[in-house]
Amino acid sequence: MPRPSHAERPVIFLPPRWNIKRGLNGDFLFKGVTVLFAISILGILLLMAVSMYRQSLPSIHTSGWSFIPGKEWDPVGGTFGALPYIYGSLVSSLLSLALATPLSIATALFITEVANRRVGGMIAALVELLAAIPSVIYGLWGVLVMAPWLQRTVEPFLNDHLGFLPFFSGPPYGVSMLAAVLILMIMIVPIITSITKEVLLAIPDSQREAAVALGATRWEMIRMAVLPYGRSGILGAVILGLGRAIGETMAVTMVIGNTPKISLSLLDPAYTMPSVIANEFAEASSDLHAAALMEIGLLLLVVTLIINSLARLLLWGVNRPTGGQA
């Protein structure tokens, strides 16, 4: 098709709000402000990382690389190894995530796909309420109610019947890795559930109808249309839950027993990175001790960043095959 000549081109009148000067200024200002905020967020992160690094220099110089695989934590003798804390953080958050994920997805599915609107709405509101409870309350309940109950009933039971497994060996203390895993699970289920619920609600009904019109039952519809469509969003919800679990300090500190020991047994007390920082920072016995705690903080930052990046990678891998204009 030949291009229309100048004379044929329709004349376009720009409405007055497209006043060039005003548009330019407004855009410039808007762009400037957003860029400034974006940079300042990055700047704060960098500033934090750098200052944490500098504060932990004494520890880095003293312990070197052995800080990470080191199992000994002796503030008086001046030996600092972070492995028990790293182990405790990873195990408690990953196990709680493994328990919380299916529970949360099932709850979200119940709210959006199974329950009628009234019941679903009520449960959703309840879940949101649970997500808003301060973690110290969970911790208090955990240490005063749940841990004694674990000590009296659950842990002896596990030990009696599954004690031949290394995961359930040893005496019941109540405060333990198990307690931390359970309290974390209770705390992250509401978060994962409420985000998953939003994800499911955003799935177009046309997808559900497509499955149902093919003769799918409700469960088949969920498996065929709902979950695959929402998978990347659900994965995002799980990652947020993991972030919460790994950073949670107060509740975990109250129930985990705070013993820097690496044990396969869930019945044994353990320790996490945030907990040791919170417990020891105020009364650090020496500059080296304070620096070692700072280095743990730095490690926690790095671990969190690594987990988040891995999750992004995973998300990217899940999303890629969808491609196209999905």
Binding site: N116, V212, L214, A216, Y229, P321
Partner: protein, 257 residues
């Protein structure tokens, strides 16, 4: 002819649909013959989709929707208590206005999705079925090299034909189509129309359309709806050349709607 046919595949008898206080479909009685194409036309909001969706109990999914009256499929009411809607829907397939392939699945898996609900077939059987269904919707030549790529990589028209292939892969007896071409370009529309003409040999088809020419081209019988009521139903040629009711004439000549 609409009333007395004994070989009616589908018969609606005094069908009423309410959405809350909204009486969307009023006392509709009509019949669709086996191996025929019935077009449902009428202005927007007159209840065409609502009627169509009551033929495979799609309203079960809509909270607040109430269906009264009966829909007979081969003489049996699909709204009776003993009727299992899941089994019934395998006999009454549906194609929607907007193509809705499953975005997480490949082309192949989309076609076979409904079939797989009945348990896993042998690989060779499934391969044959996929080829056959895609052939029927004349999509095979366009996609045979890339059966395992994601279905969202197809164009809108191809996606719609894929959805039709997915529907016929469960071998239904009836296919309901709700404005299947409204999101398609003229060429894809033509292909779907040709397809409807072929499918008629094996299936009973009910199609909702806003396109008068399309109704005239593809259907044997046309039903005109207005404000939730069936105004007139009859031989397509007659409806379009010599309708009995004034409202029908006004609508098809474009005087309102």
């Amino acid at each position: 002819m609409s009333e007395a046919t004994t070989d009616a595949k589908i018969r609606l008898d005094r069908l009423n649909v309410h959405f809350g206080a909204n009486h969307a479909v009023k006392e509709v009685t009509m019949a669709m013959a086996s191996n025929s194409v019935t077009a449902i036309i009428g202005p927007s909001g007159c209840g065409k989709s609502t009627v169509l969706r009551s033929i495979n109990r799609m309203h079960d999914l809509t909270p607040g929707a109430r269906v009264n009256g009966s829909v007979l499929l081969d003489g049996e009411d699909i709204y009776r208590k003993e009727c299992d809607p899941v089994t019934m829907r395998r006999r009454v397939g549906m194609v929607f206005q907007k193509p809705n392939p499953f975005p997480a699945m490949s082309i192949y898996d989309n076609v076979i999705a409904g079939y797989r609900l009945n348990g896993r077939g042998r690989r060779s059987e499934m391969d044959a079925l996929v080829e056959q269904c895609l052939q029927r919707v004349s999509l095979w030549d366009e996609v045979k090299e890339r059966l395992h790529v994601n279905a969202m990589q197809l164009s809108g028209g191809q996606q719609q034909r894929l959805c039709i292939a997915r529907t016929i892969a469960v071998m239904p007896e009836v296919i309901l189509m709700d404005e299947p071409c409204s999101a398609l370009d003229p060429i894809s529309t033509l292909k779907v129309e040709e397809l409807i003409d072929e499918l008629k040999e094996k299936y009973t088809i009910v199609i909702v359309t806003h396109n008068m020419q399309q109704a005239a081209r593809v259907s044997d019988t046309t039903a005109f709806f207005y404000l939730g009521e069936l105004i007139e139903m009859g031989d397509t040629k007659k409806i379009f050349t010599n309708p009995e009711k004034r409202q029908t004439e006004d609508y098809i000549t474009g005087r309102f709607g």
